[in-house]
């Protein structure tokens, strides 16, 4: 599957900074088993397909190279769901002084 991304698009690239065998000696085993990866966004300098090695210009004008992984990826974090365990806390705390409780 080739997804063409035109030059000038706002994109995200991925770099492998350190392969597992290049990682720092002090990292725990589960971390050492995987590469250290980096993602950064910028403007795509040439037409490319997802998966290509490309060059981008970042927001401050640096040129960086990496694997093209996404065109203008969305921010996916949100507020999640209301938490039932928290919903009654306001009333529980307010009841302490509205009843004039004292231990």
């Amino acid at each position: 599957m080739f997804v063409k991304v035109p030059k000038g698009s706002w994109v995200q690239i991925e770099q492998v900074v350190l392969k597992p065998e290049e990682r720092a000696p002090q990292v725990p085993e589960d971390t050492k088993a995987v590469p250290l990866k980096l993602w950064v966004k910028g403007t795509l300098l040439e037409d490319a397909s997802i998966g290509d090695t490309v060059e981008i210009e970042t927001a401050i004008g640096r040129r960086l190279t990496g694997k093209l992984v996404a065109e203008n990826p969305p921010y996916t974090h949100g507020f999640g769901r209301p938490v039932p365990e928290l919903l009654t806390l306001g009333n529980e705390f307010r009841a302490l002084f509205e009843r004039g409780d004292r231990k």
Binding site: V17, L18, E22, R23, A24, Q26, V27, P28, D30, T31, A33, V34, P35, L36, K37, L38, W39, V40, K41, G42, T58, A59, I60, G61, R62, Y75, T76, H77, G78, F79, G80, R81, P82, V83, E85, L86, L89, G90, N91, E92, F93, R94, L96, F97, R99, G100, D101, R102, K103
Partner: protein
């Protein structure tokens, strides 16, 4: 072409740092394990008045001090008669980027601008990134923020995703990494590549920036009540927040005010573990940073850390994740303030500690932080559940970090758990002795002894007793 291997870049760290800080730490060394902390702070930092002027230029500081009357009433209802201090909070979310970190960034960016740097780099997954990006914009500097954000599955902590978004909103270049201490390696490569300033959290500038926070608390309480606060509670992670606040309190004459550090208990979770990374629901303000940095500050990204909390800390308490989430909810419900949650670590401790203090005492929580998508109780608890963490009401004593989050089933269950100050000081001293330069004379010099006494805030006799124990083990 330069060798870019991990070992080669780390070997160049001192050289890279010297260029990126414009500061020669060597001139403060006193031989052996000692260095002249106060001279470093005076010479490399700025005076309180200078910092006030710098921060005023970029709209930082002078934040409101708010009395939490309903929370105080709740604490009193749980206390013995005559107990339950008045709780105040410094609304640091009113700073331009939404946290006290603007105070640190303001001074670092001022220094960078006046020393001719074109840009600033900060390694942070916290609010400091947004603070640096925001302050850099006002000073016409470029900014690069290096974050630890994803585990190897590409799953990111919502709290850090939001902080990354905020940095991008300010126009920063944001480098987002998977888990691992080699973030520092990436950071060094960026400094070397750009020649930008290292806006470290741990320079004298960064700490001087927080002194205004302590000084403002003292002067605001003095103006309203004609006296100093009895206690100030500070969320403790890297130690800078506590160090700067305490120094500011002292400079404003609040010499008797007790400084209490507070951290979220994340014991048992490994901070560099890919698997544990998304099993924690706090990415800062926790014991995983607080304890190691308190007991050995010189593990930071500068040769000598200006954040040295044991010099100022009177007490250090831990509280649980569930307790902080509960108090965050209560802050919104009782006081109409939606803030945090991570910044509410100190508030949670203050709610518990206030119950031990007399009714006429004043306890000040020295920060709030902005809240929003990602960094919100609902976002973080939803994420926790998605990662297999059990969330339930119960006794916070049953919490196991990384396995469950216990929302207290009764308000009285919110209690401070004290870390032993003597054990923390012992641990610091063991680290100091272990890191003493090779070839030092066997006995500590007078200068070293005086340095260590100041480092752990002990009398010569107290230090001697602790050193005896430190050497015995």
């Amino acid at each position: 072409m330069k060798d870019l291997s991990y070992a080669a870049v780390m070997a160049r760290r001192n050289e890279i740092m010297k260029g990126a800080l414009g500061l020669d730490y060597g001139e403060f060394e006193l031989g052996g394990l000692a260095f002249d902390y106060e001279r470093m702070m005076e010479k490399a930092g700025y005076s309180l008045d200078e910092v006030r002027a710098i921060q005023k230029e970029t709209n930082v500081g002078d934040t409101p001090l708010i009395e939490l009357k309903n929370l105080t009433a709740a604490a009193r209802a749980l206390s013995e008669p005559g107990k339950g201090a008045r709780i105040f909070i410094k609304d640091e979310a009113a700073n331009p980027s939404g946290s006290f970190k603007d105070r640190r960034a303001a001074v670092s960016c001022y220094y960078a601008q006046h020393h001719g740097y074109k840009g600033v780099v900060a390694a942070t997954s916290g609010n400091y990134g947004a603070a640096v990006a925001s302050q850099a914009n006002m000073r016409n500097l470029k900014s690069i923020i290096v974050q630890e954000l994803f585990d190897s599955r590409g799953v990111g902590q919502p709290e850090i995703l939001e902080k990354g978004r905020k940095c991008e909103a300010y126009g920063a270049e944001v480098l987002q990494l998977t888990v691992g201490p080699e973030l520092f390696y990436t950071f060094l490569r960026v400094l070397e590549d750009t020649g930008f300033f290292n806006a470290s959290l741990y320079t004298p500038f960064g700490i001087a920036g927080i002194e205004t926070l302590g000084a403002e608390i003292a002067s605001q309480v003095q103006a309203r009540f004609g006296r100093n606060p009895d206690a100030v509670v500070v969320t403790n992670a890297g130690g800078g927040n506590l160090t700067g606040t305490a120094r500011g309190l002292l400079k404003a004459g609040a010499k008797e005010t007790k400084v209490i550090g507070a951290s979220v208990d994340l014991s048992g979770l490994h901070m560099a573990s890919d698997r544990d990374f998304n099993r924690k629901s706090f990415t800062t303000g926790h014991t995983g940073f607080g304890v190691p940095f308190t007991t050995w500050p010189d593990r930071a990204d500068v040769p000598r850390n200006a954040a040295r909390p044991l010099r100022y800390m009177d007490r250090y308490v831990t509280i649980t994740q569930g307790e902080v989430f509960a108090i965050t909810e209560v802050l919104a419900a009782l006081e109409g303030l939606e803030r945090g949650p991570a910044g509410n670590t100190s508030l949670t401790a203050a709610f518990a500690v206030a119950r031990e203090m007399p009714e006429d005492a004043i306890i000040v929580v020295q920060e709030t932080e902005y809240t929003g998508a990602g960094k919100h109780v609902t976002a973080q608890l939803t994420f926790a559940r998605e990662n297999g963490i059990e969330v339930r009401r119960g006794d916070p004593a049953e919490q196991v970090p990384g396995k469950n989050i216990i929302i207290p089933s009764d308000p009285s269950m919110i209690r401070p758990r004290d870390l032993s100050m003597a054990d923390l000081k012992l641990s610091y001293l063991r680290n100091a002795l272990k890191n003493r330069p090779a070839g030092s004379p066997e006995a500590l010099t007078e200068t070293e002894v005086a340095f260590l006494a100041a480092e752990v805030k002990e009398t010569p006799e107290g230090l001697a007793a602790l050193l005896h124990r430190a050497r015995g083990c």
